[in-house]
């Protein structure tokens, strides 16, 4: 026999129930921030109930149940009514008896799946499609739910373009304590919180838990915003300071070598952007987003390559300094040997000879081989990106992508199609923001490591832009 009230599980539970194909799974997917829930046009997509607990460090705060739709509601109501007449307070026991007696009856599998959590104490969230007219056939389902005696609310889901909410409200108001409109495909974070507020009103004992859940979800949202900004800032840093280096044989790079290096550079920048986008999608729990590719365009962004040479990993200037220093230190030892009587002349001469020697010798040292290896190395480098507009294009794209992902309902299954580049840059990063951000861009372009204060300041500005986009 099923316990009508199960004390073991005293956290609030809610069963999302209704007619088949009215968006129950969409609502659960949206509320549970889980885009893995199968949502289909085919009725009966959900065959067994699935629990979606909100847990904090393993402790359940509340649990949502996605359930199959009613299939043979008339037969169940008929069975309930055929039983010995009982007072209203005994009706839930009759429903529990129905479940017990028909557990093996394949005809009622769906109804048992949906009624079981309710009879175990779950609140009822009855979902209807208010874009279609009300029909009296729904009354059978609502009557069964009334027999369970559990607190209940109805959700008006607008799947289509028509709006029959008024007539639905008239009917639902007679069966449910609360009636709310919630479109899982368009629901924003505040809609989600609003619905939870409504759920908190269903039963006094649940209010505290649901308020806790609202707090937890608000914090989680804030953390996701912060993490997204971290990912964006980190990508800006690594992209703007990225330098592609390729070894070349001759003194000057060939056209092919230059083109190949530029292509490698582009590919790396694009790969970094894609990686950041995936990271942001992961942060917002969107594991199965498909995007129509809108890759960063490089046509208008000039890429410059530069040849450089080194010996022992030292550039010409470094080698001159090193030569001069070595000469000076050598000279100093001579000065020391003469007890300072040379008035540091040896140090000065040694420094000059070392520096000039390194300068003259630098050009001839490449070909010198030790153990079959050239002393010198010639390299072709592309980057860091010098284009002044590029950081803003990148930032605009990143912010826009992140805002689309953050606002996207987990019930949506369509691909994401992002706007073009001009939109990102002009709409998202205004001229005031540009001025503030430019300090860091300059630093990164030079290849210098920015201070943590500078990054923090940058992070703040990006966060403000992101929050603006989320409003």
């Amino acid at each position: 026999m099923i316990d009508i009230v199960n004390d073991e599980y005293n956290y609030p539970k809610f069963a999302v129930v209704g007619h088949p194909n009215k968006g129950k799974s969409s609502i659960v997917s949206s509320l549970a921030l889980d885009d893995s829930v199968q949502i289909g046009d085919t009725p009966g997509t959900t065959q067994v109930k699935r629990g979606f607990p909100l847990t904090v460090d393993g402790k359940v705060i509340y649990e949502l149940f996605d359930t199959p739709g009613f299939q043979r509601a008339r037969r169940i109501l008929s069975w309930l009514k055929e039983q010995e007449p009982v007072s209203a307070d005994k009706r839930p026991s009759v429903v529990a008896r129905f479940i017990d007696e028909h557990r093996e009856d394949k005809r009622y599998l769906d109804e048992i799946e949906l009624l079981e959590p309710i009879i175990n104490g779950a609140g009822i969230i009855y979902v209807v499609d208010a874009s279609k007219p009300y029909g009296p056939e729904y009354e059978v389902e609502m009557e069964i739910l009334r027999w369970t005696g559990q607190p209940s609310m109805a959700i008006l889901n607008l799947i289509g373009n028509e709006d029959y909410r008024d007539e639905w409200k008239m009917a639902l108001g007679q069966y449910f304590r609360l009636v709310r409109t919630f479109n899982p495909l368009k629901a924003t974070f505040s809609d989600h919180m609003g619905l939870l507020e409504s759920m908190a009103q269903l039963k006094e004992e649940w209010t505290v838990s649901i308020k806790v859940a609202i707090g937890v979800l608000n914090n989680l949202h804030q953390q996701k915003v912060e993490q997204s900004v971290d990912a964006i800032v980190s990508n800006i840093q690594s992209t703007l300071s990225y330098v592609y280096t390729q070894e070349i044989k001759a003194e000057k790079a060939t056209k092919e070598e230059q083109d190949r290096a530029k292509e490698k550079y582009r590919q790396e920048i694009m790969a970094q952007e894609k990686k950041m986008e995936k990271e942001i999608e992961f942060i917002w729990n969107h594991r199965s987003i498909e995007k129509v590719d809108n890759l960063v365009i490089f046509e208008d962004i000039g890429l410059f390559s530069k040849e450089s040479a080194s010996i022992f990993g030292l550039s010409e200037n470094e080698l001159i300094i090193t030569g001069a220093s070595a000469g000076a230190v050598g000279g100093l030892s001579i000065d020391a040997a003469f007890g300072g009587g040379t008035l540091f002349l040896a140090s000065i001469v040694g420094g000059i000879v070392g520096g000039v020697g390194a300068m003259v010798g630098f050009g001839n040292l490449y070909e010198v081989k030790i153990l079959g290896k050239n002393l010198g190395k010639r390299e072709l480098t592309v980057g860091p990106m010098k284009n002044l507009n590029f950081p803003y294009i990148l930032l605009g794209r990143s912010l826009y992508h992140a805002s689309v992902v953050a606002k996207r309902s987990h019930a949506l299954r369509e691909d994401i199609e992002l706007e073009d580049e001009e939109f990102f840059t002009e709409q998202i990063v205004d001229s005031d923001t540009r001025k503030k951000l430019e300090k860091l861009h300059v630093k990164l372009r030079k290849g210098d490591e920015p201070s943590s204060e500078m990054i923090e300041e940058y992070h703040k500005i990006v966060l403000q832009s992101f929050l603006r986009l989320l409003r």
Partner: protein, 471 residues
Amino acid sequence: MQTKTNKLSITSYLDFAQLLEAYRGNHEENRLFALKYKSLDKNPIKMLLLWAKEHRFHLTQGLNSKAFVAYIGTTTQLLAFLFLLTGFLTGLGLLSYSGDAPVNITYYLFFAIVVPLLSMLFSLFTMFSRGGVAEFFSLFLSLHWLDKLVSFLPFESKKTFSKKVLLPDELTKWMMIERMQRISLLFSTGLVMALIFVVVVKDIAFGWSTTLDISASTFHSFISTIALFWKDILPSAVPSLELIEISQYFRLGERLDTELVANANQLGAWWQFLAMATVFYAIVLRFLFWIFSYYGYQKILQKELLSLDGVSTLLREFSTPFVSTEATQGEKHLPIVEENNLQVQNFVRKSYPNILGWNFSKDEILLANDSKEISYSTVASVGGSNTFSEDEDEAKSISKTALLYVKSWEPPTMDFVDFLELLIENKKVDTIHIYPLGTVGRYYESDAKDISVWKRKVQGLKSEKVWIIDD
């Protein structure tokens, strides 16, 4: 890896960095770990090292630190030995005494005081300079050159050093500085050893001489300043003015000052001062400087450990409650049947003997007939609020062809299928046309996807009597 204190080693840093490359856990696991060691939440380094210890088994490949530590250890030991030897030999050289002329203490003081102070000054500049300036000063560190040399040679250690182990510049700098202090300490020890050895095995006459016009009293003040730190505890190690006066010599050809020769027996008294100068300036100060550099090295190790890619995420996961909203069990679905061999008719007849409306009232059926210009003999409402026996009677009373209106937006429930099977079982019925109608607001026009749902359901029944009208 060390866990008892916060003292880090390069091994624990490298192992941790390698572990982060291979494994980072997930929020749930990491939070669980942090809750297990809640007492450590104010000590992130300790927590991280403990985490690394617990997950070390994920490092299935060889540890990079082994090769690196072996390389750097061997290099340091080699240099340590060389410096000790050089110190000893330098001492012997500086104190070489043939009996013809006294040993000039100014040479010795240069290596015992000036060189160590200069070297500490360079180290100090290197410590607190950044970028190019730091690179310049690091040129004076012998380990820097050894690193350059080894990375150039085609050894296996080169691969280990340059590809697998990429230490941050700042960490490399501090590691070298710290090691340089240890090595320099050995140089000074060699110097003291040489002094003691020479003093013991030889009778040396010390003197001082300079081309500069310095009087004995000026030199005495200078020497007293040098001896300031030990003059109270070891007055015998502070040369008197008289000793300074008698030990000044002027070389003119091969002849020495006669007074110097006359007081030759007192000239050995300098050794205590020289020993104390070496111990204090080259050993004690260096030791203090080493402590300071070790402290700085530890700070940088901690800073760089916290800056490793993935550490901020790890720390955030430690401190942030793990919130889960997702389902705990998998989903079960009905296989979706593809449409084939469908019994679809793309027109509706103008006349039917029987017209039924599933979940339609009689008035609604008449309205639909009127709108579709269909004539009829009998009209009946089924489903909705009808009882089963009423529906059963209706199904049995029908013969020949029946048109069954259904609401296209309401997917067929099993209740409907039960009724349809009653009609199919009725042998008097030869054809059943199911006509899905849209809402009145849309002039009964249905969505293609809704029709498709009905088609699939009818196909599943595998009855030749049932047809779907899709006009």
